[in-house]
Amino acid sequence: MKKILSVLLLSLIAWACTEDETQINDNDSFDRAAMLTNWADNIIIPGYVNYNSKVNVLAEAKSTFTSNPTVENLTTLRVAWLDAYISWQKVSMFDIGKAETLGLRGYTNIYPTNDEEIEQLASSGTYDLELPSTRDAQGFPALDYLLNGTATTDAEIVARFTTEESLSIYLSDITDRLKNHAALVLDDWQNGYRDTFVSNDGSSATSSVNKLINDYMFYYEKHLRAGKIGIPAGVFSNTTLSTNVEAFYKQDASKTLFDAALQASVDFFNGKHFDGNGQGESLKSYLDFLNTITGGEQLSALINNQFDQAKQAASTLDENFYQQVESNNEAMLLTYDELQKNVVLMKVDMFQALNVKVDFVDADGD
């Protein structure tokens, strides 16, 4: 009797568990090398070429401004800063190779920036920008403060850079550092790393595909969803944190930066070339190759549809996320929710379909 019961019980359990599973194709003969080639040659390297050229323009505009601080030169410098900041959004997710060993993202875009520390370091004249503790006093957010937040009016900002040599030097140092970092990473891709990356086309945890998919997911979840929207909207705190928006001092650039980042995530998923002409092997084509069906629908279509939902929700947002959080945070939360739905579709369903293990854990914040 006992045996029969156990058998019945087991079959009951088995029966209860067979529905709703994403189908996994074990015979994975997808051409991973072709996907890596498309990523490297058509997306990542062109992205870094573009980023380098924008950062070089920024560095030139900085030199013009520091040698001749005028409101006009400040305006030009700000435009170059925003241009470079936008181009950064398109490469931020590629935390692999030299970018990973440098800790590039940490030295480029940690916000909120620490205005007191910037003032203190600049006036002291002695600082080691290699130290992790100075990361929140450099990069684009620190430039945001220097160019937009060091005084109330443009004339006053220019006056500070005219009279305070140490501030000019600091501006110069952190701008040149961005430029040097960008050059190191591009140089590495163009002189060897590209082949290393493409030839590491296996499916182990340290293969290029598995690593970059994880980098992509980590970026999407922590930096796009949480950093740009969720944290300022108060999703992870008891109150909203409006001053934690990206480009807080510029204010009306936060949506532009977010839009660029979201579009870069969409384009990477679809394998779209950086120059906008054509697309190649990608996460989308990989999922389609495996014919991944979730709940009766193509998973790649579900993900792209969800990207559209997120864009639509974001389209209602003010250019200025600080204002948006302060005036109508509900719209931020709705955007967050749409972004979050793709975390589930990608991190659960896509990872499972591609048989990739998530290699990062949720830090518990202490």
């Binding site: 019980l9 503790s133 929140d136 854990v361």
Partner: protein, 408 residues
């Protein structure tokens, strides 16, 4: 075969399985909905001393942080641990006047339970010395060298995502060692091995006095009631509503309460917070009713579950540290493993129900810590995934959870 039929079959099976154990001698003690007990219309619940020590712990942890302070001296930090000057004089190290006015201290109750340390003062003094060594080194090594990059064998700062961690030459964060080890050496040891101990609850004529409802001098509670409440206070002493603490479990301190909350939020262990709280309530009601077997049965539940919380978090941090191991970026792993170090240290203060022993002896705990730090000459800089798995497995094996469950 129809589903409904199977369900019926299964249900019938369950009933059969459960019907044997019915005995009619279950004591008729009913626990209140909240931790509320009164005598003559006034509350009999009191644990202000525990609240005070948790608050002292918070001030100490705050001062041990490199980020948020102007880096206190070793002397001041040690005064926060002792609430005394180095030569035993009165000290006022805290920002809170109430804490400064208190004669209580963290140190006096560290590794100080009746069951484990009343006749083992040599080990107790080693434990206190460990804490003082960590606290001292935080000031003398880590604060002093906070503006240099850490390397294998060199203390300093290291990135952990957008955070910065400050580690010793072996990759350990002393403030994490202090915080997580206090959970065992102060909170768990006092609650499990002192106040829930029969030797403490039934000391002298406590039973007679409790049976007769004789209250302590100038108080509204019997001594036995108060001892039980003092155990309660080490878990819930800073709760938003201490009578109904699970409403905010995890948010009310940085010690045991916090990690009961963390374990509760893992689906594998959901319900553990209610088990602990219900056992406290029922045990306290049993004291009021004079039902001492029932009381001790609740103490056993609390000992097992609180011990489990510590073990789960030890394994959890070893596993998240393992997942974070990356030679290019060791900061995240160091942070997790420093927390893990503290929870392993705390295992020595757990209590296996029905015995006089912890789940792991000091020798076993020391062995784990030596393994953790011993894969190379630079401690956590050299630790291997295999070592982290071995320690995790050894810890989980003594409990009814798996490494995978604790890791999630």
């Amino acid at each position: 075969m129809k589903k409904s039929f199977l369900y019926l079959f299964f249900a019938a099976f369950l009933f059969t399985a459960c019907s044997d154990d019915d005995e009619n001698n279950i004591p008729s003690v009913e626990a209140p909905t909240t931790y509320t007990f009164v005598r003559d219309g006034n509350s009999t619940v009191s644990f202000s001393g525990q609240t005070t020590r948790i608050e002292m712990g918070h001030e100490l942890l705050g001062a041990l942080s490199v980020n948020d302070t102007d880096n206190a001296s070793a002397e001041l930090l040690l005064e926060m641990f002792r609430n005394e000057t180095a030569d035993g004089g009165d000290a006022n190290p805290y920002s809170s006047a109430d804490l400064n006015a208190s004669t209580k201290s963290i140190k006096s109750k560290t590794a100080a339970s009746k069951d484990f340390f009343s006749a083992n003062t040599s080990e107790a003094s080693q434990v206190k010395a460990d804490f003082e060594a960590w606290i001292n080194a935080q000031a003398e090594d880590v604060f002093v060298n906070k503006d240099r990059a850490a390397e294998a064998g060199v203390s300093g700062q290291i990135a952990d995502g957008s955070s910065v961690r400050y580690v010793n030459a072996q990759g350990l964060e002393y403030n994490q060692l202090v915080g997580k080890s206090l959970i065992g050496a102060l909170m768990a040891d006092q609650a499990l091995n002192n106040y829930l101990s029969i030797a403490v609850l039934d000391e002298a004529d406590n039973r007679t006095l409790n049976n007769n409802g004789t209250v302590a001098d100038g108080k509204n509670y019997t001594t036995m009631e108060h001892k039980w409440d003092e155990a309660y206070g080490y878990l819930y002493g800073t709760s938003a509503n201490p009578a109904d603490p699970n409403a905010t479990i995890g948010d009310d301190d940085s010690f045991l309460n916090k990690y009961i909350g963390r374990v509760e939020s893992d689906d594998d262990f959901a319900g553990i917070a209610a088990n602990i709280f219900n056992a406290f309530k029922l045990g306290r009601a049993a004291i009021v009713a004079g039902e001492y077997d029932l009381r001790d049965a609740q103490a056993s539940i609390i000992r097992e579950e609180v011990s489990k919380v510590i073990a789960i978090r030890a394994v959890h941090y070893l596993q998240s540290g393992k997942a974070a191991l990356n030679p290019n970026d060791m900061g995240p792993a160091f942070h997790d493993l420093s927390e893990g170090y503290g929870f392993i240290y705390s295992l020595r203060f757990t209590r296996m129900p029905g015995t006089d022993a912890p789940y792991f002896t000091r020798t076993e705990v020391d062995g784990f810590l030596e393994d953790l730090m011993g894969d190379g000459e630079n401690g956590l800089w050299d630790v291997t995934p295999e070592t982290l798995d071995e320690i995790s497995e050894a810890i989980a094996a003594k409990f009814n959870f798996t490494v995978a469950q604790a890791a999630s």
